[in-house]
């Protein structure tokens, strides 16, 4: 039965074409997947840069604060949260935590300490 099937050459071109199509689709899928993964990485990088500068705006805003501690959530004119900060003063240092928002979600956290207008500690944490 198997021998009979092997000797029957009808449909062999179709078989070859199916194999070629399969290989082409496989290669194509791999290339497209590589391209889209690069696009995804670029998108994440963009979001992080945007959120980082919003969080830095929070640090700058906090440094204008008065008193020994404070916090604020800053929104744009449409009500979307831009950044949020908290600060506390201990001795000559100001400890600041600031969050950068995108689409109303926290995307970047900055923890820093400032002494005499100079940054002594700076930690950036990207958040999902």
């Amino acid at each position: 039965m198997t021998l009979k099937l092997m000797n029957n050459k009808k449909g062999s071109a179709f078989l070859y074409v199916t194999m070629v199509v399969f290989i082409v689709l496989l290669m194509g899928g791999m290339i497209v997947s590589l391209l889209t993964s690069e696009i995804r990485v670029n998108k994440i990088t963009e979001k992080r840069i945007e959120a980082k500068y919003l969080a830095e705006a929070g640090v700058e805003h906090a440094m204008l604060g008065s008193g020994t501690a404070g916090s604020a959530i800053i929104k744009d004119k449409d009500g979307n949260t831009l950044y949020e900060y908290t600060y506390s003063v201990s001795g000559e240092s100001i400890n600041i935590t600031s969050y950068g928002y995108l689409d109303n979600k926290i995307k970047m956290k900055i923890d820093c300490s400032v002494k005499n207008d100079s940054i002594t500690v700076w930690n950036e944490t990207p958040l999902q």
């Binding site: 050459k9 062999s12 179709f14 199916t18 070629v20 696009i39 840069i49 500068y53 204008l64």
Partner: protein, 147 residues
Amino acid sequence: MFDRYIRNKKGLSLVEVLVAAALLILVFTGFVNAFYYSANLKVNSQNRLQALLKAQACLEEIRGSRGEESYEWSDISELEAWLEDEKEYTENSAGAYKKDNIVISLTSPDTGIPDKLIPIYVEVSYEDQMDKGKQRSVKLMTRLREF
């Protein structure tokens, strides 16, 4: 065995070849279209990221020129003068500063922001690969204290 397959032309009927050719054309056309589309998407994404990095460099230059060490500006009027005189930006009718594909705006529509906190919007435009000739832009926003 493979040689025997190649020599045996019995299976290559006209219908079979036509179906095979049609299938190949269909698959290759779809593949080429998908490849072209995703390649354009990738170039677009790269252009967008390049524009964003340019905006970032611009913001860093503004921040780096503030204050005591490399003193160029300490308040908004000095920053405006620095942009026009030193960096050769020109002020447009909307009060923003423009050079090449970069637009810097120092005013914010948001309220409740202290006067000593300068809003800085840097917008960099780039050409959209998916829609040739159309300009798109990326925008970075931060705020810097007056010194």
